[in-house]
Amino acid sequence: MVMLVFAIVNLTNFSVFTMPLVILELDLTGNERYPLMSRKIISPSTSVGQTSVAGTTGYDYTIGAQKTLPNRQQEDPLAAALYNHSLHPHARRPQVSISAYAFLFQEMVSLAVNTSKSVTEIENKLHRQGYALGPRLLELLNFRSSVTATSSRALFGKSATGPGGLGGPLEDSLASSITAMRRRDLRVLEILQFVHGPVWTYMFGRQGDDLVKSSERENEYMVVDNLPLLTQFIGHGNVQCDAFVCGIVEGILDGASFPCKVTAHAMPEDQHDRRVVYLIKFDHEVLQREALRF
């Protein structure tokens, strides 16, 4: 996406981040499917002299870096549940029934159907909901795979109700037991293998059935799934509900700086009448970078 940003910055204030008076963004591609971060309008008159009471608020980007002493506050352990709970995969119940998921998925689809005027709009909505999960899975799965079997100390740090005592909240971190982080994937093939392997296994309990490079076009790859798990309860219709999975894959690849478009295509084969091919079209900048770097 090509962006032009014009900013008139108040030069009497030195913070680059906090003080643009006017920001105009022109999106030259007209692609509004994934708007950038929702920006609060920063008005100098309100942000100057705005005081925040120490210990009651978090980071406010209209103010900038705040200088506060570490350990200054005793936080409410309940409000911190998200941060107290270990990221270790065994810290939560691993599974729910697939019918519970199917009911939920059907509701998500009908929500999209009832609020849309066209099939494309429905698919875009499902795609967008999947897309939001992409960056989360990208970070979570890579981070988890950095944790080696030996660093299982955190496995028992399952503190759903863990007290937020001084120093306590940091006890069950996984990071402190990681000796080497898994490498970020730099090449197209590496990131595709990540999608086809760990991501598919995480979501569907098995690897993708095939990973193929297009013989006709340089920038196209395909992940094949013979039996899509999520859409097996949705009837064959004109709406492609696999758009949700497309969104997830696109979100992961975009997040890892491999911008692309992902689409799903039903391509039944002899034994697999629900077989779906996920077509991944990388932007040309990805290939250029690859040619330049590696």
């Binding site: 409410d76 309940l78 409000a79 549940a81 998200l82 941060y83 709970h85 939560r92 119940r93 691993p94 599974q95 729910v96 029934s97 697939i98 019918s99 519970a100 998921y101 199917a102 009911f103 939920l104 998925f105 059907q106 509701e107 998500m108 009908s110 929500l111 609020t115 967008r128 909901q129 999947g130 939001a132 999960l133 989360r136 899975l137 759903a160 995480y202 979501m203 569907f204 309990g205 798990l229």
Partner: protein
């Protein structure tokens, strides 16, 4: 997903009497007769729905609650068939029995959790479910503006309402507490209004 319902029907005859065997029964179905999926994918998908609704309704969380309830209601009316087909449990004779089935079978089979049944009303027609764990709300921190308004897992109330109605139990189902809001527990209240007239006997085709 009703594979094995015949076996379930055979075993249900023995277990329908005592609470303990209901638990064993629920565990058995979960272990051997339930296809499963990653719970975190479930959590994340639900999260994506709630955050989408919050945006769609411009952060009017009362409306989000209503919408989640309505979605749950839709699910409940369909889920009950699936549930009865898989468990082949007979009609519950009273609310005490109903509460046990909800906690030890329904929640177990679908979400792999077993909420505590507690806080019975004197007339034994209203009780609470305490959810020690809630697979819908893992990874969630409510934003400031939602803390007082949003019942994040309200879809569960809708599901219970819809499912109970299909077995002729007209109930009020609502959240009383949620740890996401800083409460000590997550509590769903279920209150029987009346038993509906039998038009089609439940559990029979």
């Amino acid at each position: 997903m009703s594979a094995g319902s015949a076996n379930a029907a055979a075993s249900s005859v023995n277990v329908s009497s005592s609470t303990k065997s209901l638990r064993v029964f629920g565990d058995e179905i979960w272990k051997n007769k339930t296809a499963k999926i990653n719970a975190e994918l479930f959590t994340l998908t639900y999260g994506s729905i709630v955050s989408q609704l919050s945006t769609d309704f411009q952060r009017n969380f009362t409306k989000v609650n209503e919408k989640l309830f309505a979605m749950g209601y839709n699910i409940g009316t369909r889920l009950i068939e699936d549930f009865l087909a898989r468990t082949a449990l007979p009609r519950c004779e009273n609310m005490v029995k109903t509460s046990e089935v909800i906690s030890k079978c329904a929640f177990k089979i679908f979400l792999n959790i077993t909420p505590q049944v507690t806080n019975w009303a004197n007339n034994k027609e209203a009780f609470s479910l305490l959810l020690d764990e809630n697979p819908l709300s893992d990874f969630v921190e409510l934003p400031m503006d939602a803390v007082k308004e949003l019942w994040y897992s309200n879809i569960l109330c809708g599901v219970l309402k819809g499912a109970l109605e299909m077995v002729q139990l007209d109930c009020d189902v609502f959240f009383v507490n949620d740890v996401l809001r800083g409460d000590q527990s997550t509590e769903i209240r279920i209150k029987l209004n009346r038993v509906l007239k039998d038009e089609i006997p439940a559990g029979e085709d």
